[in-house]
């Protein structure tokens, strides 16, 4: 990743946090003095480098890990607002990235029961829950949305 793409990546993530949602290419272009087409082309390179994940249809941001650009079943309240995470790992990752305590709300994929976990000083308040990962690390990026 070259310095220009790194700067675009950092600006994109910064705008995500400022807006509380995935920015559009035009919003990042306006913030950084780019052309919208240059942002879209840069995002394609960042997608290829696994620095973010684009929606295959719209070209918009699907994931700026650990943040999700779309609604999911993993919600996190941290730094004064609600966020969507890509998975349970990323839900804790949002607290980590924002350097804040948080409240995670998700549900058991088996029975649908709501699961709520508070994170205080990096520790969950309910330590009885289990995290399950289906896909081995070597294959996470084969299909990151499924993973």
């Amino acid at each position: 990743m070259n310095e220009d793409d790194l700067a675009l990546r950092n600006l994109t993530f910064a705008r995500f946090v400022e807006l509380g949602r995935a920015p559009t290419a035009d919003e990042v272009a306006a913030a950084g003095g780019y052309r919208g087409a240059d942002v879209a082309a840069g995002w394609e390179r960042l997608h290829a480098a696994h620095a973010l994940v684009l929606d295959a249809v719209t070209g918009g941001i699907r994931m700026a890990n650990p943040f999700s650009g779309v609604q999911t079943s993993h919600r996190v309240h941290a730094a004064g607002r609600w966020w969507f995470a890509n998975c349970a790992w990323d839900a804790f990752g949002i607290c980590a990235a924002l350097h804040d305590d948080g409240q995670i709300e998700t549900s058991c994929p088996d029975c649908g029961e709501s699961l709520r976990v508070a994170v205080r000083d990096q520790r969950p308040d309910d330590e009885s829950l289990l995290f399950h990962c289906l896909v081995p690390a070597a294959r996470w990026w084969d299909d990151i949305v499924f993973t």
């Binding site: 993530f13 790992w89 607290c95 980590a96 990235a97 350097h99 058991c108 088996d110 990096q122 969950p124």
Partner: protein, 71 residues
């Protein structure tokens, strides 16, 4: 990558699929904080494979399941 109430719920949800792996939520939180802590830093750089593998190793997440791809 989901949270479950218990092993029983995981087994039922898998319905015979390959098992994957399960860790306590406290370990997950440790992993997430080590993995994502620098994500919004203005001096962020992409983690190397060896950096990420070292995080997994340090947390005791060893073995074939947690082995990151070489390239």
């Amino acid at each position: 990558m989901n949270l479950f109430r218990s092993e029983e719920h995981i087994e039922r949800w898998l319905a015979g699929r390959d098992q994957g792996t399960t860790i306590p939520v406290r370990k997950l939180s440790e992993l997430a904080h080590a993995w994502w802590d620098d994500r919004l830093s203005p001096t962020w750089r992409p983690h190397t494979r060896s950096h990420n593998q070292a995080i997994l190793d340090r947390l005791g997440l060893a073995g074939r399941f947690w082995h990151l791809p070489e390239s």
